[in-house]
């Protein structure tokens, strides 16, 4: 397998003005030289092979979109090197653009007033897609999703889900080597999310397209990514197989219980009572979840303790989810 993306020690700093409040402050800002440096991306390296789907994760504002903008060539790294398909993205932006596709969840590259098929035709000419490739990819699209009703609909009349779907199809249209998806499932309902995941999965399989996916939905990660990269505050935290991730903190399991009485109150009590097991207690409408590190405490012991103190009406045991692991990494970092 060849490396399609090579990133070596890239950093990106933003110089931002320290703004002051109020009218007087704004006036002062006009002449201010009071800058602060934001290290949006801090010394990140990775290499990605053709055909991989990589989940690029991290809490809000940690530099994911900034990294993607550097890989696509919109931003120039402050330091470090990037090669995307042999191009230096910033220097050869237009050339690089021919090899990549992008979807930014909140915006659309489609022509708002025109029916979808017109946007596709336009992209066909802009990317100089041959008639044969265009027809064959349209055939593939038709076999994967029901686009017929969308094709003649102006984009501005589409729902968010339909538009996102269309945008993803548009990004794959010129058969790019790499597609960057920045939060493609943001704001979509469960069924649309799963349709979009299936679509991305199929396109990756069919075309061997490399996919870099950022998302805050671990469902996307579970459904699509074998490898995940996590960054926090611009720094690399984790880069490995998703399977490896689950064993990363030792063996975790989640004990879910439903006590009698007010569930919120009971969970507050439990938090204190289970302190010595160093178990994390969280609560939703139905269940209190207790995340247990089996190297530190036995599930049965914890359950016994809970039963002593509470009237447990129902319980179940779950293996740790990707969501839980990621949450733990975001909150505690990697030792």
């Amino acid at each position: 397998m060849s490396e399609i993306i090579e990133i070596k020690n890239i950093s990106k700093e933003f110089k931002v003005l320290n703004r002051h409040e109020g009218l007087k402050g704004s006036f002062k800002d006009l002449f201010s030289r009071d800058y602060k440096i934001v290290h949006a991306v801090d010394n990140i390296s990775m290499s990605i092979s053709q055909g991989e789907i990589v989940g690029y994760l991290g809490p809000n504002g940690t530099g994911k979109s900034t990294t993607i903008k550097m890989m696509t060539g919109v931003l120039e790294p402050t330091s470090g090197e990037i090669l995307v398909n042999g191009n230096v993205p910033y220097r050869d932006r237009a050339k690089n653009a021919q090899d990549i596709g992008v979807v930014f969840g909140q915006r659309s590259q489609l022509w708002w007033a025109l029916p979808l098929v017109e946007s596709f035709k336009l992209l066909k000419d802009i990317y100089q897609i041959s008639d044969d490739s265009y027809n064959s990819i349209m055939k593939l699209y038709k076999s994967l999703v029901d686009i017929e009703p969308l094709l003649h609909k102006p984009v501005r009349q589409m729902s968010l889900g339909q538009r996102t779907l269309s945008d993803i199809l548009a990004a794959f249209l010129h058969d790019p080597k790499i597609v960057f998806l920045d939060e493609p499932t943001i704001g979509l309902d469960v069924s649309m999310k799963s349709r979009i995941r299936a679509l991305i999965h199929a396109l990756n399989k069919e075309k061997n397209t490399t996919v870099i996916l950022t998302t805050h939905d671990m469902g996307d990660v579970d459904a699509l990514c074998r490898r995940i990269v996590i960054i926090d505050k611009g720094k690399m935290l984790y880069d490995n197989d998703i399977g490896h991730l689950k064993g990363f903190f030792g063996s975790y399991r989640t004990l879910k219980i439903r006590p009698s009485g007010d569930i919120k109150e009971q969970s507050e009590k439990l938090k204190n009572e289970l302190d010595r097991f160093s178990a994390a207690v969280s609560v939703d409408n139905e269940w209190i979840s207790v995340l247990i590190n089996e190297e530190k405490a036995k599930v049965m012991e914890v359950l016994g303790e809970i039963q002593k103190l509470h009237d447990v009406r129902d319980m179940k045991l779950e293996e740790i989810s990707t969501e839980d692991v990621i949450k733990k990494i975001y909150e505690e970092g990697v030792e």
Binding site: K69, T72, G73, L114, L122, I126, Q128
Partner: protein
């Protein structure tokens, strides 16, 4: 064929502008209102001067000039500054930068469809009406041919000025003020609101060294010139060609430097 992508953008622009029929009607109505004001204003100027010819132009000369200048303005105004500014603020510019084309040509060709529609629906009808209404005051000879060449260059110069102004938005993030400033400067110094013939001597000279009059004054003068004098016409077209080249190079450099600077500083 590379050229195909440009015409594809033109085509999309034409399709798009037909989606906004109401906007077109509003624009035509606004024009009529503006032209009424122009009519009464200049009527007052001429009657107060007490002479039929002011600065070598009769009342109907002036009126024809200004009506056509307005038509030309409506056809050439591309709102590029707004477009760039809005795209920067909304972040949509990222998607435009990721097209496998240069941003400046991408934007221009995206707008060329609107340009074509505006030519057919605003300039051409006005021109025909003026021709018929003035019964031959507008000469219809070789001047038309020169006029077309001149207008093409005027469009390019106008776009380059707009694009440079739009580039400033990368620094300021405010569109409104910059756009108004550009508008006022271009409309005044180009001869779109007052014929250059009316400018005081010193200003006429100063304007001669600027690119603005190449946008409106040059094409209109060529159009309204009954017996075009070759050397004069070629001098005018040559000046336009010079500004085309100079501004295209300048706007390209300015954009390159700015994009780099801005992406270093954020924004």
């Amino acid at each position: 064929m590379k050229i195909k992508r440009y015409f594809a953008l033109t085509r999309a622009g034409i399709l798009e502008s037909f989606q906004y029929r109401l906007a077109m009607l509003v624009m035509i109505a606004g024009n009529l209102l503006y032209l009424t004001v122009v009519y009464f204003f200049w009527k007052a100027v001429y009657s107060s001067s007490g002479s039929d010819v002011v600065n070598g132009m009769t009342f109907s000369d002036t009126l024809i000039y200004l009506v056509l200048a307005t038509a030309l303005f409506n056809f050439m105004e591309m709102y590029t500054v707004w477009e760039i500014g809005r795209n920067i603020q909304s972040g949509k510019i990222v998607l435009d930068l990721l097209k496998p084309m240069r941003y400046r040509s991408y934007l221009f060709w995206s707008y060329s469809g609107t340009l074509a529609t505006q030519f057919v629906f605003t300039f051409l009808p006005t021109f025909i009406i003026v021709c018929i209404a003035t019964k031959g005051a507008v000469p219809l000879g070789t001047n038309l041919f020169y006029f077309v060449i001149s207008v093409v260059m005027a469009v390019i110069i106008n776009y380059a000025v707009d694009f440079m102004t739009g580039t400033i938005c990368l620094y300021t993030e405010s569109i409104w003020g910059i756009n108004i400033m550009k508008q006022v400067i271009v409309l005044l110094l180009s001869g779109a609101t007052i014929p250059v013939a009316f400018f005081p001597e010193g200003m006429k000279k100063a304007v001669g060294y600027m690119p603005f009059q190449s946008i409106y004054n040059t094409p209109l003068t060529i159009l309204l010139n009954e017996k075009p004098d070759f050397t004069e016409v070629f001098k005018a077209l040559g000046t336009q060609a010079f500004w085309c080249a100079a501004l295209l190079i300048l706007s390209s450099l300015f954009w390159k430097v700015s994009l780099r600077k801005i992406t270093v500083n954020g924004g």
